[in-house]
């Protein structure tokens, strides 16, 4: 049911309704599940604000019980150009 998940140390790293650069994992079933990508996105603690569901996980893998929502606005490349 979740589309993406994200690891955070603290919930307040996620600034609601502001465009942020985030490192998320794609949870779509299939061989690409759990692959990481950097995206520009907006998130909300309200699970219905944005079209897709975001699962929050903390540093030791614990899942936060409340669903967030997310709108992915595009992918961002963080890899140094020399290694691409």
């Amino acid at each position: 049911m979740y589309n993406y998940d994200i690891f955070v140390k603290e919930l307040d790293e996620l600034k609601e309704d502001q465009e942020m650069e985030l490192q998320v994992r794609d949870l779509a079933p299939g061989i690409h599940k759990y692959a990481y990508k950097w995206v520009k996105a907006k998130v909300s603690a309200n699970p219905d604000t944005y079209p897709q569901k975001l699962q929050i996980r903390f540093g030791r893998g614990q899942a936060y019980e409340n669903a967030y929502s997310i709108q992915v606005l595009g992918e961002v490349n963080k890899f140094p150009q020399k290694y691409l």
Binding site: F7, Y34, R60, G61
Partner: protein, 479 residues
């Protein structure tokens, strides 16, 4: 000398020993395979071979490859019921002598070259990296594998087992601890010069090469593997870099380790039985070639509560290396045993206590050695105790270790994986160390020494024999 050239031969041997279960039903790579391997480890059940992996037709898994002593005995060509000292003797026998140089095979003779993928076609997600535990930071392709790298200055080759998480189609990430051999190459030589370090990751290595890669031996691992096999290990040249890999391995991933760019890795279930080390920026592997055998078999070790192969083998080989170290210093030890259940945190040493503070000398040598970061408890018992007998060691520990004078604490080097360590200690690889001296002080009057009250020590030989001779007749079980 008996050995298995690849996991296929080894799997056949385990099957013959009734120590293997083939699962033909479809198994999900997403936690289900991990759960199977975890339960196998906790139950000491036979190794599973999973022949039908969801989303990955043609691929197979081999779980918990060396998670028990009977499997380790099998790898070393022994009867699976051999005792730990018998396995240790064989291991020591096989690690002595002149190591043979590796033999380089032609590509046409190397099964790991049956399929070669380079350039844009490289996609790590086409390999069935399992999601080993719920909540892990990602899918781990490197759980029972090793990484080959060459020192940029002196050309020394290192094989080391350093876990790797799949980040995306072309990238893996994992911890390479600064005091490991590859850590020294990477952090000490490549990073300051801004130079990448070519690597090859070997998935599904034959069992002896796997053991060599995680053994704390001073012999270079390809030679150590040959020494343990009794003949040269067969290698083949990589496609895209100046490295050689075991020709009979299942999957090879080639690429470069980046000196100046890190990505977040973890959490991951670790050998201590916890998810401890924090998610943080770690070493990045960029991939540019994958080669593999037909119907490749990915090895899975599932680290968690004891016993998995990391705990078993590292306890075993660390214990033996420490034994060699103490013997080389002329200390009159009876042996060293690291119980795998301690996740190689406890070193039990038996010694003839012929002078004062011999236990402190043992602990200082052990903690001060290259292996010191991996354990933090040394328990020294006298030569009357069987170090492999948990009940005897525990009894000695609880009765002979003086709570003030018998416990000695020092600072030392630790790992970020220590569950007991503070955040500061984990970050800076600091590790407190403790010695439990369970020997009676040699300066005590011999006549004042507490006398062990046991059947074997308190009764005259003739009484013992008389009782034992009639024991079974009275209806007791003979033991």
């Amino acid at each position: 000398m008996k050995y298995y050239k690849d996991n296929r031969e080894y799997i056949a041997a385990l099957e013959k020993n009734n120590d293997l279960v083939r699962i033909k039903e479809e198994i999900d790579w997403d936690m289900e395979a991990g759960a199977i391997v975890r339960k196998v480890c906790e139950d000491k059940a036979p190794s599973p071979v999973m022949e039908n992996i969801k989303d990955y037709p043609g691929h197979r898994y081999f779980g918990a490859p060396i998670a028990t002593y009977p499997r380790l005995a099998t790898v070393l060509g022994l009867d699976p019921n051999s005792s730990i000292p018998e396995i240790a003797d064989e291991y020591l026998k096989r690690t002595k002598g002149n190591p043979p140089a590796p033999k380089i095979l032609d590509k046409s003779e190397a099964p790991c070259k049956e399929n070669i993928i380079t350039g844009n076609d490289v996609d790590l997600l086409k390999l069935p990296a399992p999601m080993v535990h719920e909540g892990d930071g990602g899918r781990y392709l490197g759980t029972w594998h090793f990484i080959v790298a060459k020192d940029p200055d002196n050309g020394d080759v290192n094989w080391g087992m350093y876990r790797t998480m799949v980040y995306d189609s072309k990238t893996m990430v994992g911890p390479v601890l600064p005091f490991s051999d590859m850590g020294k190459m990477l952090h000490g030589k490549c990073a300051p010069r801004g130079k990448t370090l070519p690597f090859a990751m070997v998935i599904g290595p034959d069992p002896i090469s796997a053991i060599a890669s995680c053994a704390p031996s001073s012999i270079p691992e390809p030679e150590l593997a040959g020494l343990m096999m009794g003949e040269s290990v067969e290698l083949v040249k990589c496609e895209t870099c100046d490295l050689e890999v075991p020709a009979h391995a299942e999957i090879i991933i080639e690429g470069e380790i980046l000196p100046d760019f890190q990505l977040d890795e973890a959490p991951f279930g670790e050998y201590t039985g916890y998810r401890t080390s924090p998610r943080e920026p770690r070493t990045v592997y960029r991939v540019n070639c994958i080669t593999y055998r037909n119907d490749p078999i990915t090895t899975i070790s599932n680290m968690g509560v004891p016993t998995d192969e990391g705990q078993l083998l590292r306890s075993f080989s660390l214990g033996l290396e420490l034994e060699k170290l103490l013997r080389s210093q002329g200390i009159p030890i009876t042996g060293v045993f690291m119980p795998p259940e301690s996740t190689h945190h406890m070193m039990v040493v038996g010694v003839k206590p012929i002078y004062s503070n011999i236990a402190a000398q043992i602990a200082q040598l052990a903690f001060g050695s290259k292996l010191g970061p991996w354990f933090h408890q040394v328990v020294v018992v006298d030569d009357s105790i069987d170090i492999y007998n948990y009940a005897e060691v525990f009894h000695a520990f609880t009765t002979r270790c003086h709570p003030k004078d018998g416990i000695h604490v020092w600072d030392g080097v630790g790992t970020p994986l220590n569950p007991f360590a503070t955040k500061f200690e984990r970050t800076w690889s600091k590790g407190p160390k403790v010695l439990f001296d369970c020997t009676f002080p040699v300066d005590w009057d011999k006549n004042d020494l507490p006398r062990l009250v046991s059947f074997k020590t308190i009764y005259p030989q003739d009484i013992q024999e008389k009782v034992l001779a009639r024991w079974a007749d009275w209806g007791f079980n003979r033991k």
